[in-house]
Amino acid sequence: MTALQVLFILSAAVILGSALMVVTVRNLIHAALWLIVTLFGVAVLYAMLNASFLALVQVVVYIGAIAILFIFAVMLTRKEMRDRGPQLNKTWWLAGIIGLLTFGGLAWLLNNWSGFWKTAGVIPAGADTMRDLGVALVSPNAYVLPFEVASVLLLAALIGAVYLAFNRK
């Protein structure tokens, strides 16, 4: 087993364990903090795949913005930070089936995908992956359309937030 595999197994165990903690701890702030551990573990996976840009964006966006907003929302809406009710409701078996089906479907799809069993390509020394990513995001025969559509979606969300918060005199 190589060092990279050991690291992968460790970070995968951290991701799964903390994700389990997110849904089982009763203290909501603790759940949010465990979620941060999960997201950080995903950033570690990106870093191991040589996707340094994605790894850092994962930290900046998910930990720096989204998780902080979660914590704010929990603090501002709940008087009691502790969840006292039962942790499962009547339809838990339905959620379990849907979860299993989703996991099974994804596993089946990935198993049939030709790229799944390939080993990762070696990045030649001196290659500028950042520049390649940047060019791919704005070049017409690569990802410019999805990129722009996502931008418009975010702009719409921004305008919506401004409209909701706007104080009509």
């Binding site: 203290n27 702030i29 603790h30 903090l33 941060i36 340094s52 840009f53 850092l56 964006v57 930290v59 900046v60 930990i63 720096g64 913005a65 998780a67 902080i68 914590i71 704010f72 603090m75 500028d128 992956t129 950042m130």
Partner: protein, 400 residues
């Protein structure tokens, strides 16, 4: 390769040789040498931090017309060690109802978020931790961990002042992150890379000349990120006692304090690297001799640390709504306009002589800054006239 033109690699190679000589496997020796490098770098940074406590106290004393620490050792230099002994022997109090694990984790994360920044600081062309190709983004990511540590401290203390302080600080950090990201993109555009080493290499003309406004925006948002005056609403002692670290005693408080000082110095160093040529100047031959280069980086870091202190001890604290309005209504739009103008000018002036390129960039920056100030003045005048019109209707009616 000698000790003088490549000191860190020279020592690392020598150490690897020693470990291999003991019969250690090659891979293990490399890992061990890397670990030693990390520990040495982090320890040096923290030793510097002890010295910064003395610098801060001495400088604030000068600004306030006092002498500062001058009893323990020459010029009071031993004072920080007396402070450390005091902090260590203080009673370690954990408040009732505090969330113990989170409470104890917060100061560690706070100092860690600063120390990890030193991994990407290039002290010289050959002395650096890693040359990440996403260095500018790494700076922001470390800031996100700092934000997290503050909200953890504020919430777990079980104290309403701590929580208010944390809310204020997080509001400031989340909003001032935007102009900071944009200000970091300006050296990225000028250098064509996000790596710190590449940015320094590209500065045949210092970027502060090509983009003085970008350097200013970076400095302002860095001060807000640090939570120092005029943006020190997180600890506003006249309102919320000490903000998010109100409940911390002894060395746990010490970690927050040390983290703040080191953060200020680190941002000073980044200002030197991003806009003031890094290891090139003020001493000559910074590029050839790594030790002189490292000295240059530290000199610039200390100078900008002094500038941040100068601002802190000169200005007053501003109100929270003013602080947020200044960011969202002034700084962020100016930063975005500057980013677009810089990108446009960079393409327009590509291939021209360096002095034309420099002049064009500089004038574009001055123009953007001047227009922004004019817009702010016109807005202030409109507000003032509207207020006067409300206050004066009776007297005006009497004149007619």
């Amino acid at each position: 390769m000698t000790l003088w033109n490549n000191p860190t690699n020279f020592i690392a190679d020598w150490l690897r040789g020693v470990f291999s000589g003991w019969g250690m496997a090659e891979g293990l020796a490399v890992i061990l040498v890397t670990l030693i490098g990390i520990v040495v770098m982090a320890s040096l940074v923290m030793l510097l931090d002890i010295f910064l406590v003395w610098v801060e106290r001495k400088v604030v004393a000068r600004f306030q017309d006092r002498l500062g620490p001058n009893r323990v050792g020459p010029f009071g230099l031993i004072q920080p060690f007396a402070d450390i002994i005091k902090l260590i022997i203080k009673e370690d109090i954990t408040p009732d109802g505090a969330d113990k694990v989170v409470y104890n984790l917060a100061p560690l994360l706070s100092l860690m978020s600063v120390i990890i920044l030193w991994a990407i600081i290039p002290l010289a062309p050959v002395i650096f931790g890693v040359d990440l190709n996403v260095g500018a983004l790494y700076l922001i990511a470390a800031g996100a961990i700092g934000t997290l540590s503050i909200i953890m401290a504020g919430w777990s203390s079980n104290n309403k002042y701590a929580l208010i302080g944390a809310f204020r600080q997080v509001a400031a950090m989340v909003s001032y992150e935007i102009p900071m990201v944009v200000a970091l993109l300006i050296p990225t555009i000028l250098a064509g890379t996000m790596g710190m080493k590449g940015i320094v290499d590209a500065q045949s003309i210092w970027f502060v000349i090509l983009s003085p406004l970008g350097a200013l925006i970076f400095l302002i948002s860095a001060i807000a990120e640090l939570g120092r005056t005029p943006f020190d609403l997180n600890e506003a002692e006249s309102e919320i006692v000490a903000g998010f670290h109100i409940e911390y005693t002894g060395m746990k408080f010490g970690l927050f304090y040390a983290g703040e000082l080191l953060h200020a110095f680190t941002f000073g160093t980044f200002l030197g690297i991003l806009f003031f040529g890094g290891w090139n100047g003020p001493l000559p031959w910074g590029g050839q001799y790594p030790l002189i280069g490292a000295l240059n980086v530290v000199i610039k870091g200390l100078f900008f640390y002094w500038v941040i202190m100068w601002i802190k001890y000169t200005l007053m604290r501003i109100r929270i709504d003013h602080m947020l309005a200044f960011n969202w209504k002034f700084l962020t739009p100016v930063a975005f306009v500057l980013l677009m103008v810089t990108a446009l000018m960079d393409k327009l002036l590509a291939g021209t002589a360096p002095w034309i390129y420099g002049m064009g960039m500089f004038l574009a920056n001055i123009l953007v800054g001047w227009l922004a100030l004019e817009a702010a003045r016109a807005y202030a005048r409109r507000q003032r006239l509207a207020k006067e019109a409300l206050a004066q209707p009776a007297t005006q009616a009497a004149h007619h």
